[in-house]
């Protein structure tokens, strides 16, 4: 049994291995296995698992890769994420992937799907359209067709038939995955000093590069460790970070916020892993339908989903209240229209609820956090002062 430190260190390595060697090793063990790279934020990974595939999250190059070629593909006023991904593609980091999925989160990712098509990366490059109509007979039917298209893409490669039994089994494993993640967040809500936000991030992000079975083991071990008291509580405030993260936060930024006296008790960094709130039914005769129903009825709030009748601002305030947070840190990637266009309304809702907030912008390879640290420190001090 590995120690907590060993697990965290290993997760960090896996999470930031831009060559995805762990996933590629898994694929090499069996000819019928496929690797499907997907971009942020959410895809129902269950379907790929059931088709003997591994869905690998391609979350960008962060600050781990110098971007040279990628910049020649993007104007300065486009967010950072796609240029890092192009750099990875050109540097052959993404070789051995059988196909790529581009969820319908924004026009940058949408157009990136076309760039992958033009450069014929992988055997399929599919834009995965989320329905924005939430009637099961309309948007639901459309969503199921989107799922079937992905299954057909994979079937063409490995010939694996996805039966309801297999898909139910996969759904069960991902239900477990989400349950464990939520359990970890629940412990952290009460005892945030037991597992830092940075460590939590590494553990969750590693889960995008390994099988769900392996990740569930890790999560279970972590959960066990943090049941036991460790570390020292500090006089920190408790914040929720909101940024509808597609482009990922630089680790230095998270550390700066934590060091400035903020416990991050909830966040939306790894939204895709926590997308469905609750379980997907895993014992039905039509599991694709179950995935569809879960998407329509149990999706979390995010900038890429049209939130009719259940506005994001209110959901954010509710989340902050449930986590007993003192404030919200808005943190969007520069030039990220979806996240930035949501911000004014969310801030308004926080104001209405008397929930203090601050606001940063970042890009994945930001290197300087002095200003962020100072602002977060002032925020924390002001909350303590007025509390």
């Amino acid at each position: 049994m590995r120690s907590m430190e060993e697990i965290i260190k290993w997760c960090e390595e896996i999470a930031f291995d831009l060559n995805f060697l762990h996933a590629k090793k898994w694929k090499a063990e069996d000819k019928s296995r496929v690797l499907v790279g997907y971009l942020p934020i959410y895809i129902p990974r269950e379907i790929i698992h059931a088709a003997n595939g591994l869905a690998v999250g391609i979350m960008g190059a962060g600050d781990r890769k110098q971007i040279i070629k990628g910049d020649a593909y993007y104007q300065s006023y486009i967010c950072h994420l796609p240029r890092g991904i192009i750099e990875m593609a050109l540097d052959k980091n993404l070789n051995d992937f059988d196909g790529f999925l581009f969820p319908a989160i924004c026009d940058c990712v949408r157009n990136l799907s076309g760039m992958f098509k033009l450069s014929k990366k992988g055997q399929f490059q599919r834009y995965f359209d989320y329905p924005q109509n939430f009637d099961p007979k309309i948007g639901g039917v459309f969503y199921m067709e989107e799922i079937k298209k992905v299954l057909s893409d994979i079937h063409k490669i490995n010939g694996v038939e996805v039966t309801p039994e297999k898909l139910n089994h996969s759904i069960g494993l991902y239900n477990k995955n989400r349950q464990l993640i939520e359990a970890i967040y629940n412990v952290r809500q009460e005892f945030p000093w037991r597992l830092s936000a940075v460590d939590t991030y590494h553990i969750l992000r590693a889960g995008l590069c390994m099988t769900v079975e392996e990740h569930n083991d890790i999560l279970a071990q972590v959960l066990k460790f943090i049941q036991v008291e460790q570390g020292e509580p500090m006089d920190n405030i408790r914040v929720v970070i909101s940024g509808s993260f597609c482009e990922q936060p630089p680790i230095g930024m998270l550390k700066s916020i934590e060091m400035a006296g903020c416990y991050i008790v909830d966040d939306d960094f790894m939204q895709g892993s926590r997308w469905i709130i609750g379980d997907v039914a895993d014992n039905t005769a039509d599991p694709i339908n179950a995935l569809m129903e879960a998407y329509l009825e149990k999706s979390t709030f995010a900038s890429c989903v049209y939130d009719v009748g259940n506005p994001k601002g209110k959901r954010l305030v509710k989340q902050a209240r449930e986590r007993n947070a003192d404030g919200v840190v808005f943190c969007a990637a520069s030039f990220c229209d979806p996240a930035l266009l949501d911000r004014p309304e969310m801030q308004k809702e926080c104001d209405a609820a008397g929930l203090p907030h601050i606001n940063f912008q970042f890009h994945e390879n930001t290197g300087q956090f002095k200003v962020i640290k100072e602002q977060a420190g002032t925020f924390s001090d002001s909350i303590k002062l007025w509390a």
Binding site: A72, Y73, Y74, Q75, Y77, I78, P82, A104, I105, C106, D107, C108, R110, N111, L112, S113, G114, M115, K117, L118, R126, Y127, D129, P131, Q132, N133, D135, K137, I138, G139, V141, F142, E145, S303, C304, Y306, D307, V308, P311, A332, S334, F335, C336, D337, P338, L340, L341, D342, R343, P344, E345, Q347, K348, Q361
Partner: protein, 440 residues
């Protein structure tokens, strides 16, 4: 002298015009008048977008459409957008996001005064035709909050991700139109949906579409009788969206087509704000929206150099009729679905590249130019790759400039002029080389 030019540019009415332009002016003035009196006249108002618009359907309920992007661009032309954008930034909108949204929201915050100086009526229905641009969704989420209680009909147009329209996508569209859009329109307008009326309107749509395509394709002639970008957005295209499906639109396009034919017969070049272009030196295909805040200055850089745009992608955000699509009276709902899916910004990147390649070849272009818009991801993300592909496939020199739609802070006249002058020099040199090779 300099002062005179600036004065002239600030006075759109002084520009040289043809009969069709007057006709257009009358139609637009009438439309805005109607809008300003909508409440008195008991007319319902629908806010919606240009790409993937359901104009015929709205008009078939006797409702009046309002297009926020058109208001934004008009605000840009009237030099109001800078102030509106700042207003939106004051309430928390980031400098980085689409300036159309900020301009529109700023305009509302400042009293919703439309292009004619009259107040626009608030919406009775928000028709979110979410087609080809993700920002539309965010835009209307914001409008929904600015107009609480106004019903919203969402029409999600699936992206042509594989370069084709699949049956399930078409069915998804039709179901949304049937089960969400039409019932909401019935509820707001108090009228029953009349499919026969919609079909009849589509007969007029198709006629106007035929004429529009003829007009746009007249630019294949050398010299071209029209400018397919500046004039395309200034007087060829605008009527289309708001009036499609009406007899007036057919009359307008017939008049315009007559004028264009006459120009072709006489071998005349396009009309610019300073008169007819005498010498066609460079034929260009352009990708991306224009800049609106300095529209005349921007256009002038081109016509002063004898550069004419023979085909543009921006004029296809309202539909790719030149690829053969027509509204079909026999299948009104299905054709609305196909129309929405076919608009330029809903085409995938390989389709966009193919279309531009076709334009460069069929319109005998000397070059391909991109005007990259700072705040428009839908167009801009991927443009540098489009540029490489076109250069490889056609061999024509490619050029690249940057500006913004309606944020005056991002229009640098000197910078754009310098870049374009170097680009035109490059085109000139290539022409000389090609001419020498032809002699050999």
């Amino acid at each position: 002298m300099k002062g005179q030019i600036i004065k002239k540019m600030a006075q759109p009415n002084e520009a040289i015009k043809e009969k069709s332009m007057d006709l257009q002016k009358e139609m637009l003035a009438k439309q805005f008048k109607e809008l300003s009196m909508a409440k008195e006249m008991g007319k319902k108002v629908v806010y919606t977008f240009v790409p993937g618009n359901l104009t015929e359907l709205i008009l078939s309920f006797d409702m009046l459409p309002v297009y926020p992007e058109i208001n934004a661009l008009q605000s840009g032309m009237r030099k109001k957008s800078g102030e509106y954008i700042k207003e939106a930034e004051k309430i928390g909108f980031s400098e980085d996001v689409c300036t159309y949204v900020k301009c529109d929201i700023g305009m509302m915050l400042k009293g919703n005064i439309g292009p004619t100086g009259e107040q626009l009526p608030p919406p009775d229905l928000l028709l979110l035709s979410y087609t080809g641009c993700f920002t539309f969704l965010k835009w209307f989420e914001n409008l929904e909050r600015l107009y609480p209680g106004v019903p919203v009909a969402m029409l999600h147009t699936p992206y042509q991700e594989d370069g084709v329209m699949t049956d399930d996508q078409i069915q998804y569209m039709i179901k949304q139109i049937n089960e969400d859009v039409i019932p909401k329109m019935e509820q707001v307008s108090g009228k029953k949906f009349d499919i026969a009326r919609l079909s009849r309107m589509m007969e007029d749509s198709a006629k106007a579409e035929d004429l529009l395509v003829k007009i746009l394709e007249s630019a294949k002639t050398v010299p071209t009788p029209i400018d397919a970008y500046f004039a395309g957005v200034y007087y060829i295209g605008p009527i289309f969206t708001a009036f499609r499906g009406t007899p007036e639109a057919v009359v307008y396009y017939q008049e315009l087509w007559n004028e264009v034919q006459e120009r072709m017969r006489l071998g005349l070049g396009p009309v610019t704000p300073e008169g007819e272009l005498k010498e066609e030196r460079f034929r260009l295909v352009i990708e991306g929206p224009p800049n609106w805040t300095n529209f005349r200055e921007f256009w002038k850089i081109f016509y002063d150099m004898g550069a004419i745009i023979v085909a543009s992608t921006y004029t296809k955000v309202g539909g790719t009729y030149d690829l053969g699509f027509r509204h079909d009276p026999a299948q009104p709902l299905e054709s609305m679905a196909k129309y929405c899916m076919g608009v330029y910004t809903n085409m995938n990147l390989p389709q966009r590249v193919d279309l531009i390649e076709k334009y460069v070849k069929e319109y005998k272009a000397d070059g391909f130019l991109i005007n990259s818009i700072k705040s428009c991801n839908s167009f801009s993300a991927g443009q540098l790759m489009i540029m490489r592909e076109i250069e490889q496939r056609t061999g024509v020199p490619v050029g690249f400039i940057e500006s913004d739609l309606v944020d005056p802070r991002y229009f640098s006249y000197a910078n754009i002029k310098n870049r374009l002058e170097s680009y035109f020099q490059m085109l000139e040199q290539r022409k000389t080389i090609l001419a020498q090779e032809a002699v050999k």
